[in-house]
Assembly symmetry: C2
Amino acid sequence: MIDKTLSEREQIREAGLKVTHPRMRILRLLEESEQIHLSAEEVYRILIETNEEIGLATVYRVLTQFEQSGILKRHNFETGHSVFELDRGEHHDHLLCIKCGAVEEFHDEQIESLQYKVSEAHNFKTIDHSLTIYGHCKSCQV
Amino acid sequence: MIDKTLSEREQIREAGLKVTHPRMRILRLLEESEQIHLSAEEVYRILIETNEEIGLATVYRVLTQFEQSGILKRHNFETGHSVFELDRGEHHDHLLCIKCGAVEEFHDEQIESLQYKVSEAHNFKTIDHSLTIYGHCKSCQV
DNA sequence: TACGCAAACGATAACGATTATCAATTGTTT
DNA sequence: AAACAATTGATAATCGTTATCGTTTGCGTA
């Protein structure tokens, strides 16, 4: 069994960052939250509400650092603000309910390879791609 | 041959909007620009530079109205601001060069139908979807 | 274990994109 | 042409995010 605390320290270290309280708090929150996607404001609000000391600027800074070091993935849906989720290595796309905001993840190897083909056909060197399907989830359909 | 001016008037009328100078100027610009995607600021700047009177607030308002009435499509890439293009009815996706900003469009029926399948499998009722491939275009590769 | 210093923090100012406000102007309908 | 609601545009306000900068802290070293 892996010591979670240790692994968090290591992740931060491997990112070339000092292990500080704010960073530990933020990473722990992301790992323990049931919500997959968290915005900076949400991370800040949740930590403040649980009486963890943190500054909003730090939250933004740390989330960006975590993103750059591959700990987190940033998503820009059509909401006007970024949301973050742990990057567990497995690429996936999203189904987003525009009524209740629910997010589901999916991965379709066929779509992936077709995208790659398209990219090649246009002489593009793919670095990343994002596919989001907007609609109504089961519980939001009339 | 269709009278372009007339068709612009009609488009605006059909959207349930009064035919005003700012609306005509904006629609005409979108139709005549070689650039497919224009941001609100760009539309404003271009009109001001060509000595057309317009206010920035009006540009934002009109672009949103045009989007809501189906005249325009809004895209939110990872740039931090929206861009707009004429909605010619044919859905397409985008290849975006993260170096020079170039945008290419593509349409792949196979990907479309696979997306639909995924959506069904998750009991989602698809309303819209966006697929963007980020990478380096031919001229930006080393 | 204490020291020193770069790295990191956090309060707050600044920023860029967008929206709200509201008095003045303009399209359309009569 | 009058009437009146819709529209405009200058500007203030808002929102998410980034920059500033004096203070604090992690951590390698003595």
